[in-house]
Each structure stands twice: as structure tokens, then as C-alpha cells.
């Protein structure tokens, strides 16, 4: 065990390698996320962004390297144990429980630390945590409707709400605005800004416009490695980034 909780960064990834059937998805990634950061993770298709958060959340096992969360090595731990340490994530295709109501979805997320026997009791009313999450995502009017009736954007918000209700120390959002309309993107951006105020958040994103509007710190991945790291302006100005990723967008924007 190197480093205590206090002096370690919240997330420290060192020399991370992932190999799928001979394909090197990640080839030695180093990444540090400090407490309170809002970090964007970008890169062209196949750069390894999702693979990276898959490793952090236990879905994929690394071939080499370490993932330290607040000083604890989480590489290879089982998924639900990692969640219990305080890492929450969303998926590209949002998965909410369609048969359950919006409140039940949030309540389920909020109650994950309850011991099993207490789950045998019926839910009475709405807990403060759930009410607060419902308020944050703005789905109060749909609280008792089954989540199956929600639109794509609302589902993503519900998922984010479920994360917030778990009070995680680190949130990993995988392409939260993919497939969203312009209005929905704006609302998601506001939601993100609000959440980032008191959470550490890592966002994997594809959408450059969204990035320009809401990102401050950006890490660019390319072919399984970290290409550049810095603030939005610096990253955008970097010729290597332009070459692999932003080149076209920049010309179009000019």
C-alpha cells in the first residue's frame, strides 16, 4: 500500500494495459484525477476511452498496470465492490429499469448500502436523498410513472440521478449526450455543471461542441495512449490533437 487516502489523488492510473485477443486496446495509460475535478476524456473511435472506464469499474481486467482509487487498488475487483468503494458510472446506452417507476429506480440506487434483511420492508414515501436527486434531474412530474415511458434524454438524466443518489466519490459518465437533441444537450450540460460543483466527474465524450462549452480539463486518448492533457484551449491548439482528432473540426470551424 503506497500512499494514504489523504495524499493520494482520487484516481491514479499507472501503466495500464488492456489486451483483447491480441489487440492492444490500452497500451500503457497514465492518468491522474484530483478531487473535485471535472475531467473530459476524448479521442477518436477506438482510442480506448470506454475501455479505460470499463477497467476502473471492474468490467474489464487489465493485463498490466494499476488503478488506485483513493489509495486502494481496484484493478480486478468485482463490480459491485468497486461501486461500494464509491465509483459510479453510466453507460452509453442508458439502462434504467423500465418496469419500475422513476422513484423506485432512484430508491433502488440510493439503497445499495442497506443490509439485505432491511430490503424486505416496503418503501414508504420518498427519502431525502431520492427527493434531492429527483429535484436535481428535474423529473419530479414523472416520479411515479414507469421508467419505460421516459424519452432517451430523460433516461440519461434518470441514470445520472441514480448515480448522484448513491453519493459516489467519483462519477464516470460514458457519452452522456450521445443521441440527444440540442435542447437535451443543453440541459445535460447544466446538469453536469451542477453536479461537478460538489463531485469529482470524468466524462467520456465524442461531441466537440459539448466539450468546448462545458469542459475545462481534457485528456486526449489516441490508440490506447494518452496523447495530450491540458485545458480545452491548449488541447485544441495542440497540433498532434488536430492531426488525430480535431483537424477536420477545426477547419470546419474556421
Amino acid at each position: 500500500m503506497s500512499g494514504t487516502e489523504k495524499d493520494a489523488a482520487l484516481l491514479e492510473i499507472r501503466g495500464l494495459e488492456v489486451v483483447f485477443d491480441g489487440f492492444r486496446a490500452l497500451g500503457g495509460v497514465d492518468l491522474t484525477v484530483e478531487r473535485g475535478e471535472l475531467r473530459f476524456l476524448i479521442g477518436p473511435n477506438g482510442a480506448g476511452k470506454t475501455t479505460l472506464i470499463d477497467v476502473v469499474t471492474g468490467l474489464t481486467r487489465p493485463a498490466a498496470g494499476s488503478v488506485r482509487f483513493a489509495g486502494t487498488d481496484v484493478a480486478g475487483m468485482r463490480e459491485h465492490r468497486i461501486v461500494r468503494l464509491g465509483i459510479g458510472r453510466t453507460f452509453q446506452t442508458s439502462v434504467v429499469f423500465e418496469e419500475l417507476s422513476v422513484v423506485e429506480n432512484l430508491d433502488l440506487a440510493a439503497g445499495f448500502r442497506r443490509p439485505l434483511p432491511t430490503l424486505l420492508r416496503q418503501r414508504r414515501g420518498v427519502s431525502d436523498t431520492v427527493a434531492a436527486a429527483l429535484d436535481t434531474i428535474g423529473l419530479g412530474a414523472l416520479a411515479d410513472r414507469p421508467a419505460g415511458v421516459l424519452s432517451h434524454g430523460q433516461r440519461q438524466w434518470l441514470e445520472i440521478g441514480m448515480l448522484v443518489a448513491q453519493r459516489p466519490r467519483l462519477l464516470l459518465l460514458d457519452e452522456p449526450v450521445a443521441g440527444m437533441s440540442r435542447d437535451e444537450r443543453d440541459r445535460t450540460g447544466e446538469l453536469l455543471t451542477e453536479i461537478a460543483r460538489d463531485h469529482t466527474v470524468v466524462v467520456v465524450e465524442h461531441d466537440m461542441e459539448f466539450l468546448r462549452r462545458y469542459a475545462s480539463q481534457v485528456t486526449v486518448l489516441h490508440e490506447g495512449r494518452v496523447l495530450v492533457e491540458g485545458d480545452v484551449a491548449a488541447v485544441q491548439a495542440d497540433p498532434r490533437v488536430q492531426e488525430v482528432y480535431l483537424g477536420r473540426t477545426k477547419k470546419e470551424a474556421a
Partner: protein, 359 residues
């Protein structure tokens, strides 16, 4: 609130029908038949919980039904033998009571074993299987294979289990003559009450947070994992509860029908239970019970007319239900009710009624 009240009224109505009207109206022979259907309904209730709510298609509930049945039957055999060996053991040339049978001389051990043995077996299986993330068709095939193996095991161990004939010819059931009408009537009441109590308990489970979690596991097991729950635990607990119900069903079956044998617990009866649950409507507990009673009633009536034809009809019905009405009879009823409600209030937007999973 009114829906809740209506649910209570419906339950009270069915209870009155089962406990007051049926014993008054039905001749003893038919009441005994109904008691048998209710035994199957108890096992079906467990399937409704595991399959309908939890998504675990268990094709081997006969194993747990059998474990409960044999536990009860072994006690009755030893009680009848009164210190000697049970009759079939004598015929098989057994000279000393096998160690497996020894504990079942005690009625307390036997009654505890009715629930404890199926629960223990299901828990062990669940821990091994769900932790490895075996699910869907693989789980179904595994449980089916278990039922086949269990049947073969019992047939093969003639001297220990009574083989193909099973255990039968009981003369004394806790001081009563099991064949007497009064005993049969009592057994009917006991079975009906046990079913009612287990139904209420299962319904409570479904409505609890655990029940919501179970549905979530059914619909998105991986997502549940990322909420910080271990789906394997949720599934194992539910599977064990359903096994316990099947064990109780099997134990009640023995005095009600007077026999437990391999043909009552291997592949075919296990499948028949699942088919009945599907036909009744697997997504509601009431549907599972309804299906078990209706299908077994149909089986009896149909077999009285045309023996051997039932299996074809049952298979056809299963295919029709799974392809055209996957929510079963209860699902069709709900559809009709919603359609009617919409016709009555055409101005209101077509809002699907918030489905109560445990109606």
C-alpha cells in the same frame, strides 16, 4: 388506494370460495382433487417468484417438490413400520435401516427437512451457479438436467427409495387414517390455508424493496451490479425461497394423494408446472396459482375423456401462450380491462395503468 382495497376484497372472495363454498359444494372425491391442485399451486407460486419476478426459468422444481415429499413420506413409512423396516425394504432384502433414513424417525426432523433440505440444495446450487453468472437458457437446461438426474437416482436406488413405485401405502398420518374423508377434508383446509399464507408472504416480498430489486435483476442484471448490489445473492435467496415452497408443496402432496414417486418429480412434472405458470400468467403471483389450478383441473377432466391426448393439448397451449400471449391469462385479462377502460373514457389520454407486479 381503491385498487388496493379491490385487491383485498378479491383475496377475501377467493378465500371464502376456497374455504367455505368449495367444501360445501364439492363431493369428497372432488375436494381431494382440488387439494392436489392446490399443492401444485404452492409449487407454482414459487416458480412465479423465481421465473416471473426473478427471470430464473427453473425447469427442475420437481426436485424440490420431491425432496419435500420424500422427507414427509419417509417419516410416515417409518411411523407405520413402528420400529421395523418399511415394507418395501423388506421386499428388497434390506436388513438394517439405512443411515439416511435414521433421522426421519422423528416427525420434527421430517417436518423441518421438508423446507430445510430443498432450501439448502437450492442455496448450494445458487451459490455455485449464479456466482459464475450462469443464466438464461443455460440455467434452464441445468435445472432440467438436475430433475432428470434426480429421477434416475431415485429409480436406481430401489432398496433405499422404493424405486419406480415410490413410497405409498400410508396407514397413519399424525394419528389420522389418511384415507378417511375427515382427514382428507382437514388436509384440504390445511393446504388451502398454507397456500393463502405463502401467497401473502410472496406478495409482501414482491412489493418490498427486495422485490423491486429482484425485478431489476431480471431486467438488467449487469446494471444492478453497477448499482452496488450483488445479483447472485438476490437470485440465490429467491431461488431458495421458491425451492422451499416446492418442498412444502411436495410434503402436503403426500398425505393428500397418498404417494410420492419418481414420475411425480422428474422432467415432465417439472415442465408441467412451468407450462401452467406460463398459461396463467407468470408476471403475477395470482397468475401462477390460477394457472396451476386451471391446468391441473383441465388435465383431470380431459384425461377422463381422452387419456393420452392431454400432453398434446398442453404442448400446443404452451406454444400458443408463449408466442401470442406471453403474459398468460392474467395478461389477456389486463389487456381487455385496459381496452374497456379506454373505450369508456375516450377523451382521456391512453395512459397505461401503472402495472402492479403482484396483483
Amino acid at each position: 388506494m381503491s385498487a388496493r382495497l379491490r385487491g383485498y376484497a378479491l383475496f377475501a372472495g377467493v378465500a371464502a370460495l376456497a374455504l367455505v363454498v368449495a367444501p360445501l359444494v364439492l363431493p369428497a372425491f372432488r375436494l381431494d382433487e382440488l387439494a392436489k391442485y392446490l399443492c401444485f399451486a404452492i409449487a407454482a407460486l414459487g416458480i412465479g417468484l423465481a421465473w416471473g419476478q426473478g427471470g430464473m426459468l427453473t425447469l427442475g422444481q420437481g426436485v424440490f417438490f420431491g425432496l419435500g415429499g420424500y422427507a414427509m413420506a419417509m417419516y410416515l413409512k417409518l411411523h407405520d413400520a413402528d420400529g421395523d423396516l418399511p415394507d418395501f425394504m423388506v421386499w428388497s432384502g434390506v436388513e438394517k435401516l439405512p443411515a439416511l433414513w435414521k433421522p426421519f424417525e422423528s416427525p420434527v426432523v421430517a417436518v423441518v427437512a421438508v423446507v430445510a433440505v430443498p432450501v439448502a440444495v437450492a442455496t448450494l446450487l445458487g451459490v455455485l451457479v449464479f456466482r459464475q453468472r450462469v443464466r438464461g437458457a443455460y440455467f434452464a437446461i441445468l435445472t432440467q438436467a438436475l430433475a432428470a438426474a434426480f429421477g434416475i437416482l431415485i429409480v436406481g436406488q430401489q432398496a433405499l427409495t422404493g424405486g419406480t413405485n415410490g413410497l405409498t401405502n400410508f396407514y397413519d398420518f399424525f394419528g389420522q387414517d389418511p384415507e378417511a374423508d375427515s382427514t382428507q377434508r382437514t388436509m384440504y383446509y390445511v393446504t388451502a390455508v398454507v397456500l393463502g399464507v405463502l401467497y401473502l408472504a410472496a406478495r409482501q416480498l414482491v412489493k418490498s424493496r427486495f422485490g423491486r430489486l429482484l425485478v431489476a435483476v431480471r431486467d438488467g442484471e449487469d446494471r444492478v451490479r453497477f448499482l452496488g448490489y450483488n445479483p447472485a445473492t438476490v437470485k440465490t435467496v429467491t431461488f431458495a425461497v421458491s425451492a422451499g415452497m416446492a418442498g412444502i408443496a411436495g410434503a402436503l402432496f403426500v398425505p393428500v394423494v397418498g404417494i410420492i414417486s419418481p414420475s411425480l418429480l422428474d422432467v415432465v412434472p417439472s415442465l408441467e408446472l412451468v407450462v401452467a405458470v406460463a398459461v396463467g400468467g407468470r408476471y403475477t403471483l395470482a397468475g401462477a396459482i390460477l394457472g396451476a389450478v386451471a391446468m391441473n383441473y383441465a388435465k383431470t377432466s380431459f384425461s377422463e375423456q381422452w387419456a393420452g391426448g392431454w400432453l398434446y393439448l398442453e404442448g400446443a397451449l404452451f406454444i400458443v401462450v408463449m408466442t401470442l400471449a406471453p403474459k398468460g391469462a392474467i395478461g389477456l385479462y389486463e389487456q381487455a380491462r385496459d381496452a374497456l377502460a379506454r373505450r369508456r373514457a375516450p377523451a382521456a389520454p391512453a395512459v397505461p395503468v401503472g402495472k402492479e407486479a403482484a396483483a
